[in-house]
């Protein structure tokens, strides 16, 4: 019964997983067992000059996520996620949010030890 955050291109479980973290279209916060979920829109990230990844980490942390499933995470966002103990699974793409949850439940995700993407320097 873990609360999982998944970067998503839309508000529904069958929407595609968005491989970006900081500037993802939004996040789906879902209970891994019951599949109760809610959507957090991330449109505000577009106006941010910098630090979108850190803001995203803040947002999902505040929403109670313990796990993040996504495509790629930059180094600063990764540091922020580690600091609050959110486990990160990277390199997911071309699947739906629902499929990502299924993989998590089947133990088929790779836990990241390091960010898989270079930062933008800022």
């Amino acid at each position: 019964m873990t609360k999982i955050a998944i970067t998503s291109e839309g508000p529904l479980l069958d929407d595609a997983l968005d491989p970006r973290f900081g500037r993802a279209a939004g996040f789906i916060l879902v209970d891994s067992q019951t599949l109760d979920f809610k959507y957090l829109d991330n449109g505000a990230s577009q106006a941010m000059a910098q630090g979108a990844g850190i803001q995203a980490a803040e947002n999902i942390s505040r929403a109670g996520a313990k796990v993040l499933l996504t495509g790629y995470v930059g180094p600063k966002a990764f540091m922020a996620l580690q600091a609050v103990g959110i486990k990160v699974a990277q390199n997911l793409e071309n699947i739906t949010v629902r499929q990502a949850v299924e993989r998590y439940n089947a133990g088929q995700v790779e836990w990241a030890q390091a960010p898989n993407r270079e930062g933008h320097g800022r």
């Binding site: 941010m48 803001q55 980490a57 505040r62 922020a80 609050v84």
Partner: protein, 291 residues
Amino acid sequence: MKVAIASGKGGTGKTTVSAALSSVWNRTVIAMDLDVEEPNLHLFLKPQIFGREKAYIEVPVADESKCTYCRACAELCQFKAISVLSNVLLIFTEMCHGCGGCLAICPEKALSPGQRELGEIVWGQAGSAGFLMGRSRVGEAMSPPLMREVKKKLQVMLEGSAADVIIDAPPGVSCPAVNAVMDADVIALVTEPTPFGLYDLQLAYEAFLPLGKPMGIVINRAGLGEDKVYDFCRSRDLPIWAEIPYDRQIAVAYSNSQIIAAVSAQHKALFTDLADKINQAGVIAGAVCHA
């Protein structure tokens, strides 16, 4: 009086012109290199260095024992340099712009001023001209903070003894370039008579026009290209203060880090002429000229 040597396009000859002007300027002058990312003026002026110092920007340092995670700092920071996640305070000093907001807003006095190194400031003397430059640390993303520190050093130098200032500006028309020209009395825009030169000159002209400073044009490598840049200058009433003909001899001298005003009597005359035109524009604009 301060003259900024700027351009839209890189590589048109700003440093070449700045160095040559400094060498023929007939009043007390300081040559200042504000292209802190890629400073080159010192390669031509070859100054005797009197001093160097590191430059810093103020960034927050946290005493987490005092932090109540109220998030006031994180909510104010526009740059995500300080953020609060659950009960963790994270500071990314490289993102900090030095605005002081977090330090001012913290109700618990948990933040105090620390430093991030921006780069170094170097000063000295090149012949009869004073010399001042900034060089950013490789990896430092922002130029304006170091440029501001170099300008503060200039103020100190000018208080010591008044002088004119020749500013070698960075290329482009965004924030670093505007920062370099904003304090000048006169702007000389260096261009080349090519399509890239013309396009970027138009950008520079539009960028700097609102500053309301007299502007004149220096056409470098004249003869290699086309005439449209002259049409543009005419159409905007932009005086052409100098034309440096394309000449392989000049290019070779440049490649040997020679000041091109020294290449021949004609070249020297070209730059003393340019200095005169700049001065006239400065006087008309009400600039203070020093002995």
